[in-house]
Symmetry: D2
Subunit: 354 residues, 4 copies
């Protein structure tokens, strides 16, 4: 059984402790937080674990196999690095780090030491997103056309990161998981309505190879909450609405057909297909539980996590480029993928296989 | 009573004929179209008008006061110019022309000859959009923050213009009417999924003065139809859903409040307000009827149309710039407003008054 | 080609004229109405037909094969009877008559004279209802459990008939068409909120053989418009929402399973099934056009209409019984089906075949 | 501080323990349940309380002021009676008892001994229902016309009570709280689709004085979950949708107006009003917490609960009559209200004041 130490018991930490406590593969043995009151709450809920305000105690504890980090983004790099250097496997909140350089270093250290470095890209462990990936992998959607997401609501304004790093990161990780494609460039726009604060509304276009486009739409200042993604393909299209209580995924047998017209080379005929809609039953296990089990098994079996450090690095690379574009009012920023992270591993393997 | 000749009896022309026939201020006396079959339909529905395949006959008819043009965009400039030169008032479909230069020329000719040049920006004559303008003018929304629209559906792919010119033009005309602000720059992205055809999916960010942002989201290849706009202000926010049968406008008493915190200069406190929602009863007269009456009265009383040639020119200027940005993957394009069209007339007058 | 004369050009008559004019199987030759102005409108829209304020002229016209009646319910019996006696086939608005006795007489006369007597149960000619019937006939729903409809909106209050005769008649005709079952008894409740006027809100329970129940919910005084029906079966369940623009029918693979528990005779184990949802593409031809073609073909080929006089009589029998129950606050009223109308023809044939 | 003992730690008991633990006015000191495992769960969550499989220990404990009963309906009478006879105040799940006679006896004992007898009619403590009552009391709705509720979903089938006792009880308690009216008669229909089990689908009409009607629609075998109530009044109408995340109450300024027409005594003119819709911000404190505080204060201040034994008795009287009507296929059953319970206390006081 994997023994876990959790650093940070604020907003998300309690969910980590609860899920790692509930699965048979792992056990939470310790929690650290700077706030004694929070530690009291943790202790009252899980009487068997020990609590401390000194996270170093967790790193020094030889009984602990893995460290889960649920602290502000600015602390991820240092905490994760120290944990890896102490020989611990690491489960860290998204986004992985504040910079590409930091992320690259964490990936390198984890790989050198053969430790699992897992980033908490929670959505890819939901039944909905796994179903979408299945549809893409099976070829049900046909050629991919676009990914188009709206993720808006009122609050919570973050003081240290902008709305892209807070909300768009979810969609970036979903696209990274679902699309077997490498992004080429990003154009981002947005502004802040609060003086001297990070952008609270932003729009991000990702250009992929193969004429595929992604668009993300994030806003902390919307009167209604929306979590809705359209995914277009040549054979089918998907509407993924995460706020629907039971039918989160709807698959439409709709689209266009192109008929080359030999008589008239200048004219491509477009036909419209409309057909059935289908909402598959989805797996409803809590995503974080699935993820906690996946992380534990990666450690036990020496496997690579689906959302490993390289995935985390790919997301940070896009976020960093998006910030640059945002400050230049949408000027496109191209990615310079290096060998290794450069290529979306899955894309490469799929292409190699094809 | 204003006597109207209509050129073009395809998709939209019949609506023009029907509405101008129904109002007491005007009368349709002639229709021209290249297709005899369509003319037969027009005649069967409105037996008193004369029909012809030669639009020149309408321009030459001294009994006709005004020409309504419902033909493809590429023909607008030539038809409108000839009509103006024949001394006719002009009602022309949106967008006004294919280029800024053409639009400038039409505006100049109309103003020299003191003729009404009206562009069919239909949405600004709906009860919903007029209500939004009223909310902005009354100060009910407070300081404006953003305009954020999603306008997607399956089809109809246009062969001559891209999806921005087809769909975003609606939102551009709404923003032009509702926001007392001058746009500064545009960033547009998008692609085509049909070889050698105009972009069928596009995203457009408009930067306005006063830290206001606009974003338009248009797509001909979506599995569901959406027509939804969020408008954010410091005091209230609006959800405008044109597909709602009865509650198209919802006004939310939601937002944030900023409290300067003197003790800590580095910290701006953000508080969240949530309150009632209110859906006002809207005027439901068909927009085109309101517009037909407005056009007729402008002629009779020598007044300027709310959607006159200058409004049409402003929209074409944005569309032209958006196309440039689109071809450069989102690179921002700044507007160079000239005196006269440069400034949004309403913006200026409001500022002068303040 | 069947030649049609239409009596009544008020709310529904224009739809009849338009649809019978549009199909190749028929032609409208005459329209009568007491109101000269309405006749003028009819004439302006369909210049080839003749109009008259005297419906007898239509009955006397030997060129007319069939009479369509779109007048108030109280006139149906006399007009239909005279038309049948004049040797005309008859297409009559629903409900067929005001009383069972009248309906029985029309059925008898039509059958004696071998004339088509068709009642305008429009909904059974929609793509949605035909799809539901297909699901029932294929056994996709399994054993039928219930039909449960909500049909409410604001207005139009009728002065001569109550809300059951106005709105519930639609659901009664759908059930009659879709369910291969004979109703046994009805319980109806409701009241009027306008002094001395017919009930404007009512609820109606139909008890069928085989433990099947139907419930109708009608209201002229609701703040929102709802048109929603749930149909429960042992294998699948249907949600039919007629206001949905594209997905009117949703089929749920949900339900319960019963497991006899031998160990404990007193305990029936109920398991819950949840599964996919599916919205089939529906035929979208206007129902009235389908119906007009069906009526015309019944005449040409000497066939019986799907909504013939016997169907109309069955509905009137239920309506009459519902009225009795309504006046006694829900006391159940049993039907005494006579041989011939007693049995739902389809029910019998299906049972005979099984 | 009121000291509470809770009997029953199954589905609802944990909510009672949690809420009574969280408020300053009360403290849970003991929990009894027949299942040792559940007691273990209770103990792990709330370490300070004592647990026992013998509920008599709670009744005998002089430190306990009040007993909360969260057990099957069939046990309510005996447990509540013993608790009252032991001098304890009682908080009991709905419905109060299985029979009117039992409920009458509990009311009598509680009143003789001056003990608080509170029935857990949870919904009347929600922000939504309190807002509706406020609208009725203020006269905002005008004269009341109807209460019309749909409360359906898939499962959970109860083995001992039918769907009316399980689901309609919520609406009966809401109507009892919101409507200042006495019900006169009930008509109920429904059936069971599981052999030898209670009805799983049912429809219930309540006739009130003043021409007001109530209708409840309950179903354990529906493919979708619905919780929607329409409340009609002469001035305004309400749509209460408990599944809406934020706008549970919508108030429509819609309705009809009656204009007596002196010229024509036979004709009442009906005009239709349509106007704004308004969704007020609602109080969002958990209902059970509000209720726990109310119960505690009633004990401390010697006050009568809003959902006291008499309210519980009124509901059981309606349920018992509904069962009789259900077995006779909708035959109406009149209530014989006795002085005291007969009259809706609030109705009387309002009328006396008017």
């Amino acid at each position: 059984m994997i023994k876990i130490g959790v650093i940070g018991y604020g907003y998300w930490g309690p969910n980590l402790v609860r899920n790692f406590s509930d699965i048979p593969e792992a056990e939470v043995v310790a929690v650290s937080d700077l706030d004694q009151k929070r530690l009291g709450v943790a202790k009252s809920r899980h009487s068997s674990l020990y609590t401390t305000t000194d996270y170093q105690a967790l790193l020094a504890d030889p009984a602990i196999d893995a460290i889960a980090i649920a602290t502000p983004v600015s602390t991820h790099y240092h905490l994760a690095l120290q944990a890896l250097e102490a020989g611990k496997h690491v489960f860290v909140e998204k986004p992985l780090t504040e910079t590409v350089k930091q992320a690259e270093q964490l990936v390198a250290v984890a790989e050198q030491r053969n430790l699992v470095l897992h980033v908490d890209h929670t959505f890819i462990y939901t039944g909905a997103v796994r179903k979408i990936r299945e549809l893409v992998d099976n070829g049900d959607l046909g050629d991919l056309y676009y990914y188009d997401s709206v993720r808006v609501n009122l609050g919570l304004f973050q003081h240290d990161i902008n709305v892209i790093w807070d909300l768009a990161v979810h969609d970036l990780s979903i696209m990274d998981y679902v699309f077997p494609l490498t992004p080429i460039a990003v154009s981002a726009t947005g502004i802040s309505h609060v003086p001297d604060k990070p952008a609270n509304i932003a729009f991000l276009t990702l250009f992929f190879e193969n004429n595929v486009i992604g668009h993300l739409h994030v806003n902390w200042l919307a009167p209604v909450k929306l979590r809705r993604t359209l995914i277009g393909g040549s054979r089918k299209m998907v509407l993924y609405d995460d706020l629907e209580p039971s039918e989160k995924i709807k698959i439409y047998d709709k689209g266009i057909t192109l008929n080359g017209n030999k008589e008239n080379l200048y004219k491509t005929m477009i036909g419209y297909r409309t057909g059935d809609m289908w909402a598959p039953q989805l797996e409803i296990t809590e995503a974080l539980r699935v993820e906690a089990q996946h992380f534990s098994r990666c450690i036990t079996h020496g496997e690579r996590s689906l959302s490993d450090g390289r995935a985390g690095l790919r997301i940070v690379r896009i976020l960093e480029a998006a910030n640059r574009s945002l400050h230049e009012e949408g000027r496109p920023v191209k990615f310079e993928w290096l060998f290794g992270d450069a290529a979306h591993a899955r894309a490469l393997s799929i292409k190699a296989a094809a």
